[in-house]
């Protein structure tokens, strides 16, 4: 076990590496050539068209203004400048509320840390069992400050129990305030949104197929009958998954063509060639440019066929539709009520934002959803508890003998003693590292299989799965020795009352491990986040090989968004650690505080300058955050009970029994008080907005407004005549008008906020970032739709420009 000085060394190393990252970031971000990596959000918002410094050729790539190097930490105060309202306007409510989780962590843990350190450390130290036992036991310095130092049956445990009560009450109070706050923010945000397609639209699944009637007819008939006063129109959903996959493949070919053309331009003597066999390793050698052009032509033909099929074949119309209503009230009513006698038909739910729709899952037949959910929950269980089994199997294969057999030519190298020992230490861990790296992807695929139709829901589900994995394998797995599978086995064969004792008793001993974990994963990891090494490299690679026009460069920058499926669970893990160790080893708390403060700064900077949210769910993740902090409270209470029962504190432990019951009731109360704000849509609100809308825009053509809001994004590439067929209004509307409308409404996530002061990280402060700049950014997107709005529907990013602009 580590002593205080060991921890000091570890802290030093981690602080140094964090500083190294920060320094690298500070240097890289002020280079004009990296501007699109570190400030993409401003390009997307349309406030920057090119790196800010003009001047000579070199200055276009390297920052020659040496003064700026001196103030390399100035991003921190800048990140704090923007007010929360501005932040919501700038990056959406999701991002603003995401940052509130960090401030909530600070608000919860700063007072707890002060109280715990001031009260518990003296109580624990002065008890001093461990001081006397020192010679017999290997005891770390950290343990002297923890509850382990209190002798069994001591009356001092009342202090710990009292503080557990105090902390629980404090955390519940803060949680209540925060839930209230977030719910109000959400309602205010939704209320202040201007007219948006999803306010009028309901997603209807499982439309019954009546022989002799088209889906469109039965939809029209059903809603005209049952919502006669409010039904407006519907948008059929076409199964364009195959077409979309063709588009994706064609894009990849187009990238290769671009790459080869650029290569040829730079080196006009030699036309690039390639082998047409597997992976370009063998086969006939052909001219690359001709080859790809030929391939693309073939793809265009296949796509044309597929397009005709989608448009003409009635089977490509899915039994799913987006049904729009004349008023928000009508949509709210339809979304919340049961439509049909048969509860598995005509399932209505609020439609996700158009850009939040995960189109591919709309094609999943509803009947298979139950089975999918069952299979996925079994798989998650297996993944959480048995993931070590396949990895151990792979590890047993991926040893040196295996490597030598596969690649005999490496034998002389491997046989070198130095390299051999290195590989022996490295290879077995490799499988595990690869697994942990791809784990979020696996979990996301699992969530996709479950069949949710919104990207936001997918991310929340993936995040839940990741949390279970972390809870079992990082938290419990570090405390109790053995793999999760062994733990599961031993837990099944232990009495239930024994489990908290087993875990509780080892908690104080693992404090040093978790302190190190916080420093590595929390401190250095977050510093790595701000550096954006991967996007930096990819951007420059693309810039070198693919970028021809300004638009290509626009496409090459990958702002990304907050990676909720990974960050939310790890945040929740930090809450768990803080809450569990608050009364056990309070010395851990300052490390968590540093993490929360630092991560807050980093993410605030990233949200302002980098991330470009793919969707806006209106903080729909908050109920999960809330309930997982409550779960952490319950875990901490159970474990403290187990710990104290091993300390034979029989007279004080029963006092704790009532705490979980109270916590649970608090949770139930919060759930009934606030959760409906995140799940349901009050009619009062909808009616108020309808009335407002009727007075401010009395003669709006809603049908035109909704014309292709919920059109599969792939159809935007279709010819105008074809589109008329599949659009809700079925008549030709002025296309650019409707896009402009759309773009405007999208722009108005923010709308009726007071005229706010301008904010820009470097530009003069009176330059408002909200108005489009003089050169409208729409020009660089095809059809005036920003690319992230257009293509992210598929759940994957288009790495280069889309083919559509090329017909």
């Amino acid at each position: 076990m580590a002593t205080l000085s060991d921890i000091g060394v570890s802290a030093l190393i981690n602080i140094l590496s964090a500083f190294a990252f920060l320094l690298a970031f500070a240097l890289l971000r002020i280079q004009p050539v990296n501007d699109r990596v570190y400030f993409p959000k401003w390009y997307i918002n349309g406030e920057r068209a090119s790196p800010r410094r003009g001047g000579n050729f070199v200055a276009k790539f390297v920052n020659l203004d040496f003064k700026t190097y001196l103030t390399f930490l100035n991003w921190m105060p800048q990140a704090l400048k923007m007010s929360e309202t501005q932040l919501i306007n700038h990056a959406g409510l999701d991002s603003a509320v995401f940052l509130r989780i960090y401030t909530l962590g600070l608000k919860i843990f700063v007072p707890i840390a002060v109280v715990a350190l001031l009260i518990l450390i003296p109580v624990n130290v002065s008890s001093g069992t461990l001081f006397f036992l020192r010679k017999e036991l290997v005891v770390s310095d950290i343990d002297k400050l923890s509850i382990s130092n209190v002798p069994p049956k001591s009356i001092r445990f009342f202090v710990h129990i009292g503080l557990e009560y105090l902390f629980t009450i404090w955390i519940c109070y803060m949680l209540y305030k925060e839930y209230d706050n977030v719910a109000t923010m959400r309602l205010h945000f939704l209320a202040s949104q201007r007219r948006r397609a999803e306010q009028f639209t309901v997603a209807v699944r499982n439309v019954p197929q009546i022989p002799g009637h088209s889906i469109a007819d039965s939809l029209d008939h059903f809603f005209k009958t049952n919502h006669p006063d409010t039904y407006l129109c519907h948008q059929a959903v076409y199964n364009a998954n195959k077409f979309a996959s063709l588009v994706r493949k064609r894009d990849r070919l187009q990238n290769w063509l671009d790459y080869n053309q650029l290569k040829f331009e730079r080196n006009p003597e030699k036309r690039p060639t390639k082998k047409i066999g597997f992976l370009g390793l063998w086969g006939e050698r052909v001219d690359s440019i001709d080859f790809y052009k030929q391939q693309i032509k073939e793809f265009d033909k296949r796509m044309e066929l597929e397009r005709q099929k989608v448009l003409k074949d009635s089977k490509s119309i899915l039994p799913v539709a987006f049904v729009s209503f004349k008023s928000r009230w009508g949509a709210a009513v339809c979304a919340q009520t049961q439509q049909s006698k048969n509860p598995t038909l005509w399932l209505t739910d609020w439609a996700p934002e158009p850009r939040d729709v995960y189109w591919r899952n709309l094609a999943i037949p509803f009947v298979s959803l139950t089975i999918r959910k069952l299979i996925i929950s079994l798989s998650v269980f297996a993944l959480v508890f048995f993931y070590m089994i396949p990895i151990a199997f792979v590890q047993s294969l991926a040893n040196l003998e295996g490597l030598e057999r596969v690649a005999p030519f490496l034998r002389p190298v491997i046989e070198l003693k130095f390299i051999k020992s290195f590989l022996q230490g490295f290879l077995p861990g490799l499988a595990l590292k690869i697994f942990l790296y791809v784990l979020p992807t696996i979990l996301m695929i699992m969530s996709k299989i479950e069949g949710h139709i919104a990207v936001s829901t997918l991310e929340r589900r993936a995040s839940a799965k990741y949390y279970y994995f972390m809870l079992v394998n990082v938290f419990l797995g570090s405390i109790v020795t053995g793999t999760a599978f062994q733990q599961l086995h031993s837990f099944l064969h232990q009495p239930p009352t024994q489990i908290p004792r087993t875990i509780g008793v080892s908690i104080p001993m693992k404090a040093t491990f978790f302190i190190t974990y916080i420093m590595v994963d929390g401190w250095a990891g977050i510093a790595g986040e701000i550096l954006r090494l991967k996007p930096l490299v990819i951007f420059h690679l693309k810039n070198m090989f693919l970028v021809k026009t300004e638009r290509d460069r626009e496409m090459a920058m990958d702002p990304g968004s907050v990676d909720y499926p990974e960050t939310l669970p790890s945040l929740q893990l930090y809450f768990l650690l803080g809450i569990v160790y608050a009364v056990v080893t309070p010395i851990l708390l300052p490390f968590i505080l540093v993490f929360f403060a630092f991560a807050y700064l980093v993410y605030r900077h990233q949200i302002i300058n980098v991330y470009n949210p793919q969707y806006e769910s209106g903080a729909a993740f908050w109920p999960h955050v809330h309930s997982r902090i409550i779960a952490s409270l319950l875990i901490s209470q159970l474990l403290l009970m187990g710990l104290l029962s091993t300390k034979e504190a029989a007279n004080s432990t029963p006092l704790l029994v009532i705490l979980p019951i109270l916590t649970l009731s608090f949770h139930k109360y919060c759930k009934s008080r606030f959760e409906p704000a995140f799940r349901k849509h009050p009619l009062e609100e909808a009616m108020a907005k309808d009335l407002l809308g009727r007075t401010t825009e009395p003669d709006i053509n809603l049908k035109a407004f909704l014309a292709d809001a919920y059109l599969h994004p792939i159809f935007r590439s279709f010819k105008e005549e074809e589109l008329v067929e599949i659009r809700v209004d079925k008549v030709r509307v002025d296309r650019h008008q409707s896009y402009a409308d759309n773009a405007q409404s999208r722009d108005d996530i923010s709308s009726p906020s007071p005229p706010h002061h301008a904010y820009h990280p470097t530009s003069p402060p009176h330059h408002s970032y909200h108005q489009p700049t003089t050169s409208p950014p729409q020009d660089i997107y095809h059809h005036g739709i920003p690319p992230q709005y257009d293509y992210n529907h598929y759940g994957y990013h288009y790495e280069a420009e889309s083919w559509t602009s090329r017909d």
Copy 2:
């Protein structure tokens, strides 16, 4: 352990006592004097006004037609005559579906019994471990037929596992068919109902109190804003609990007055007197008739004051209302949507039937509901697991020494050896017996404290609590020795995998106990049910002491209704026993079959001739029945796994693991497929009925129709002028007209059914029971409302006539 012959003796005793009950029933029911006890339903339906036989004076009381004595079992075929459609018209859907539980039991267990007996008994008997061990072990004959007889590690366990699969699939198939059936019946029933107040009405709780505005104003404003097209009116709810309790007390006084007046009439020489002290044991002796008249006068004054208070004091208007809509669609929309931004305000839910409303709970403030639920769930837990503690305490007090101290004059009697030993055997059990007798009442009170506003919900909740109690204390308590508390203790200190083993291994040994239980509780108990001993005695007592007029006699008959809180849990226990023992000791199944068949006959007879349902919930209890049978399946699978694991059947037991998962998925599927039919209200349905209504009754005055449907029933005693104030339409409508309307719509639970053949247990078959007889029964109720409709709102029955007819 009992041998087969022991069971034979027990069966004989129980069959004999069941026959004794049936014989007594057969003799008593054909006496004209008991006609109102055994055929009250026909009096309430208005098809009988007096016992059917005229003739001389004696024949009015005693049946002199000796031929009828010979056919004393003829009620059985009679009970089967009525078709299910007729039954629904006659007694409502609840009763008809309740009977279907018994037929479901038969449908499930007849094939299972045949298969299990044919396959398992040979398999078990021919194994014969126990035959060889006979000398060492005390083994019953029953065990020879059970799974205990199979030697450990036998390959024969595959037969048991195969049958468990087969039975599970069969039960799931039957459950699915039955759920489908019941859901269709419910939807058909609801669809075929004529216009009823609850179709248009929504119960709104937690109406916010806005200072300066009356509740009525804010209600009107809110619903006019948010449901402008459909809102019609609302009925405020007055807190008349105090007034109702005064009415109740006055009724009791009135009963005493009646009793004394009757006594005086029969014996005019002596005016009855009473002592005015505690319980009439001491104090001044006064004239009873004068005393009660005086008391009633005082009560009338207090009631007048209270009535004024209710009408005038704005505080007596509760923040609860019944809001009515112009269309069923409007009500369906309002009931299913969230109204307000604050999800704890304006809570809407479908209104229960007027006679199903439990008025007293409407006064409970909503905020306390969470706390109430928490407290009650803790209490139920405590009651289930620790109920033995207070009883043991009382038992320790209620011994002979205690009795001698309280009543020293009894000492000479108690000291007699024979009586002493009898009392010593009797007294300790007394506390337990009293507890078990009052348990359903306690559970009902608990459910009432939980704050549900419909009597049907209260009964369902009480039934759930009783089920938990039976499951733990009857089922598990009989299998594992020790009190529930000791079991809980040992289960908490056992590994979870050990629990099914502990229970599983003792299951076969308890088969004889449960066979006896089925015979005592099931066979003889059901036979006792048909005899109706308590209502018989009470009816004759009332007839002797209170009845003066024909109307009094009408009041004195207490038809009761199916006692769901007690019968549903015990039914579910029989399902549990059947399912658990099907593969373990199949010889138990025939006993359960006899129970189901016999209970079906008895309850069918009672439902046709006796019970008068207090409310109609449209089989809302079915999802509970379904899910508890599924729970029984899961329990049986777990216990079989435990049992097999003690038999070291390691190669076959793992095969069972997948079964609970499949069962659970089946349950989830059923839940999503059918449960919404019981909880939600499809708009399609509402719209269809609206359209139908608009064409058939285009000019109905809905406001007048709804005028006082949801008026607290106590207000029906108010003067007409006062009523105008509190009724929804606030204008004078023709009162009798509206009642007639009501009565008609109530009558039409049945409506559009084909003209059916007449049915009457004894009258000639062409006498239709559906048309009112020439002497309308309304005459004998005050205001034309049948008494069960008028007074059962309180959740208690008025034993004698109400005071209202006396002002």
